[in-house]
């Protein structure tokens, strides 16, 4: 039995499920494999039985005699009790794993992840902020989730974990990645326009690389100003709505080679894209709307969320997009 | 298809066997409807109790703005109206429709008194800047010498206005319904064999009373 589920597990993981990035993923898949097998057997009995009876007892003439069977208590008890036992088994099995998922290890590396329409931002203990979530392999990691606006859900298919991020409250989840590589993080709770674009990368690296990455990220202050702007552009998830390497519009206008151009706005007239216009657009997106884009603009205001130096770095970066 | 015929002087729809069959069916329908009323108000009660235990101090602050004397008078008014409502049915049962009409009229009057007192309570709060939810106005409250102490006080008054407001709407609907059966009663449509509408309206009115019996300690007393 154990060997068989193991085989099933392997077969399923390779074809129907995302890669198994954690031990918990394996135990979830074991349970899932068991459920699929049991489901398959029950469907085979029900559907197979149905087709068999339908063929065997097909009407031959209008006056067919049928059996008069009102009930059979033994049979009915049988197909009440057997499913019940199976249900109780899978319930208990599921609970054991669920309990494991919900019990936060005490020694975990803690990362604060905040959801915001429509991006995730990770913040590490030393103050590093990042769009990519980088974690060391074989180490307990605890994600403390928060949301700035509406419900989001932090979902890593390869780890078989998911947890809603709720504004006004912290929720958490943990994992211990056993596989190096990059994994998708989806938002699984509907959150508006670009819900389906709220995807980020979870990079599992060696402890060594992790330490290196963390140090280099924390040295961001020493980078050239436009480079810093590029970082902020990523961490603030500007890229989910604005293209920077081609002129095609996404949700918002592309910023590629935008600086210095004249744009016609719905409020009337044209506007020259200069430092002050970009500044205004970031802090008060509803002030002017370029022709052809929705009004009111779906862009959130960054008033009070960016320091002057961050703002300057962003503008410098946009200037450089040539 | 529903047609009706007269049985013992009572109009009975064709799908009912007799007067009692029709009466008991109607009554069951009325009770089922009352269940939905209980469950609808119940949702608010559940929310109130949960948030009350999450934010006891904030709820205490909110309750301190409520004058239990007003609530007390209103409780008496509503209980009295329930009593007269019961009399309205009683006098019809014993064949004294004139008295029944008077009882119903007093019931409507009590409903009106209740609403007037509610009006004074509301306007007093509006005057102090106490509005539901995010409309609550801390500056106005401070001007009136009652600075707001808990950040989400608006939620208490959100509950207060939703619960007493929904209850108030029911009082108004009840008054309308009682007036309707009162007019029918004056026209002589009811008699000891047939008074189901009065009874139905009566049960509705008692539900309104019942809800207030719990709202009073919930909002005014258990601060």
């Amino acid at each position: 039995m154990a060997i068989w589920t193991l085989l099933m597990n392997k077969a399923m993981a390779d074809t129907f499920m995302p890669a198994q990035g954690t031990e918990i993923a394996k135990s979830v898949d074991n349970l899932y494999a068991f459920l699929v097998v049991v489901s398959f057997i029950s469907c085979a009995i029900l559907i197979g039985g149905m087709i068999y009876f339908a063929m065997k007892y097909k009407r031959k003439s209008a006056n067919d005699k049928t059996a008069y069977i009102t009930h059979d208590t033994r049979l009915e008890v049988l197909w009440s009790v057997v499913p019940l036992i199976i249900f109780m088994v899978v319930f208990a099995w599921g609970w054991v794993i669920f309990h494991d998922m919900r019990s936060m290890p005490a020694d975990a590396l803690e990362i604060q992840v905040t959801g915001k329409q429509w991006a995730w931002t990770a913040e590490y203990k030393n103050g590093v902020k990042s769009v990519d979530i980088v974690v060391p392999v074989n180490r307990n990691v605890k994600i403390v989730l928060a949301s700035e606006d509406v419900l989001h859900s932090f979902y890593v298919p390869s780890f078989r974990i998911k947890q809603d991020a709720i504004p006004g409250r912290y929720t958490n989840l943990w994992f211990n990645a056993t596989k190096l590589g990059e994994f998708h993080v989806f938002c699984a709770e509907y959150c508006g326009t670009t819900h389906s674009g709220m995807i980020t990368r979870l990079k599992v690296v060696s402890q060594e690389d992790f330490d290196k990455w963390l140090t280099s990220e924390s040295e961001i202050g020493t980078l050239p100003i436009a480079e810093r702007g590029r970082k902020y552009f990523q961490t603030r998830a500007c890229a989910s709505c604005h293209n920077v390497d081609n002129p095609a519009a996404k949700v918002g206008p592309s910023l590629y080679q935008l600086f210095g151009k004249d744009e016609s706005v719905q409020e009337g007239g044209t506007v020259k894209v200069d430092e002050n216009y970009i500044r205004e657009s970031i802090l008060d997106p509803q002030a002017k709307h370029v022709t052809g884009f929705p009004k009111p603009s779906p862009m959130p205001s960054f008033q009070g969320q960016l320091s002057e130096s961050e703002l300057a770095a962003l503008i410098e970066y946009i200037k450089d997009l040539k | 298809m529903s047609t009706s015929r007269l049985i013992n002087g009572v109009e009975v729809a064709s799908h009912f066997r007799d007067v009692n069959h029709q009466y008991s069916s109607n009554k069951e329908g009325i009770w089922l409807f009352m269940v939905t009323e209980i469950l609808m108000f119940g949702g608010l009660f559940v929310g109130y109790i949960i948030f009350h235990s999450l934010y006891p101090e904030m709820f205490a602050e909110g309750a301190s703005y409520l004058d239990w004397k007003m609530g007390f008078v209103n409780t008496l008014v509503l209980i009295f109206s329930s009593f007269t409502m019961a009399l309205g049915i009683y006098y019809n049962q014993v064949g004294q429709p004139k008295r029944a009409t008077w009882a119903l009229a007093i019931t409507v009057l009590c409903g009106a008194i209740f609403m007037v007192i509610k009006y004074f309570e509301y306007t007093h709060k509006f005057h102090m800047g106490i509005f539901p939810g995010r409309l609550i106005n801390p500056e106005m409250m401070a001007e009136h010498g009652h600075p707001m102490q808990h950040a989400n006080l608006g939620m208490y008054f959100g509950f207060y206005y939703c619960m007493s407001g929904l209850h108030g709407i029911h009082v108004l609907i009840g008054m309308g319904l009682i007036t309707w059966v009162m007019i029918r009663n004056i026209k002589g449509e009811f008699n000891p064999k047939y008074y189901t509408p009065i009874e139905g309206v009566g049960i509705f009115w008692h539900i309104v009373d019942l809800i207030w019996i719990f709202l009073f300690p919930l909002l005014y007393l258990v601060g």
Binding site: H99, R102 | W31, V35, T36, F80, F83
Partner: protein, 114 residues
């Protein structure tokens, strides 16, 4: 539901309306008034037994509610099926309340209560 099933096809045996004497209504009305005063008295002196205050206030309210339901709403003399139906409403409410409370008051920021 079991209670309802016994009710098929009765030719209104239970449905004969019951006439409550006037005296009873007066008594119930008086009791309701008295209990309302009692609520207020309890409220004024609640400083002396603070932790119990809500229980007393709601205990009295429950008695009042019972009086209204039993006599004013005639449930005491109504068909048992109607009593079951009305009780179902309160039962549904209790379910909603119980599970919301089970969730909200066993949430913990760290670890688990189980």
């Amino acid at each position: 539901m079991a209670n309802n099933q016994s009710h098929h096809n009765d030719h209104g045996a239970h449905a004969e309306p019951h006439v409550t004497p006037l005296r009873t209504y007066l008594n119930v009305g008086a009791a309701l008034f008295a209990l309302t005063f009692l609520t207020i008295i309890a409220h004024v002196f609640k400083a002396h037994y603070l932790p119990l205050a809500p229980f007393i206030a709601f205990g009295i309210a429950a008695i009042k509610a019972f009086l209204v339901m039993a006599w004013f709403m005639h449930l005491k003399y109504d068909e048992p099926s109607n009593r079951v139906i009305f009780a179902l409403g309160f039962f549904g409410l209790a379910v909603l309340f119980a599970f919301c409370v089970i969730d909200i008051f066993t949430r913990v920021a760290q670890g688990t209560v189980l």
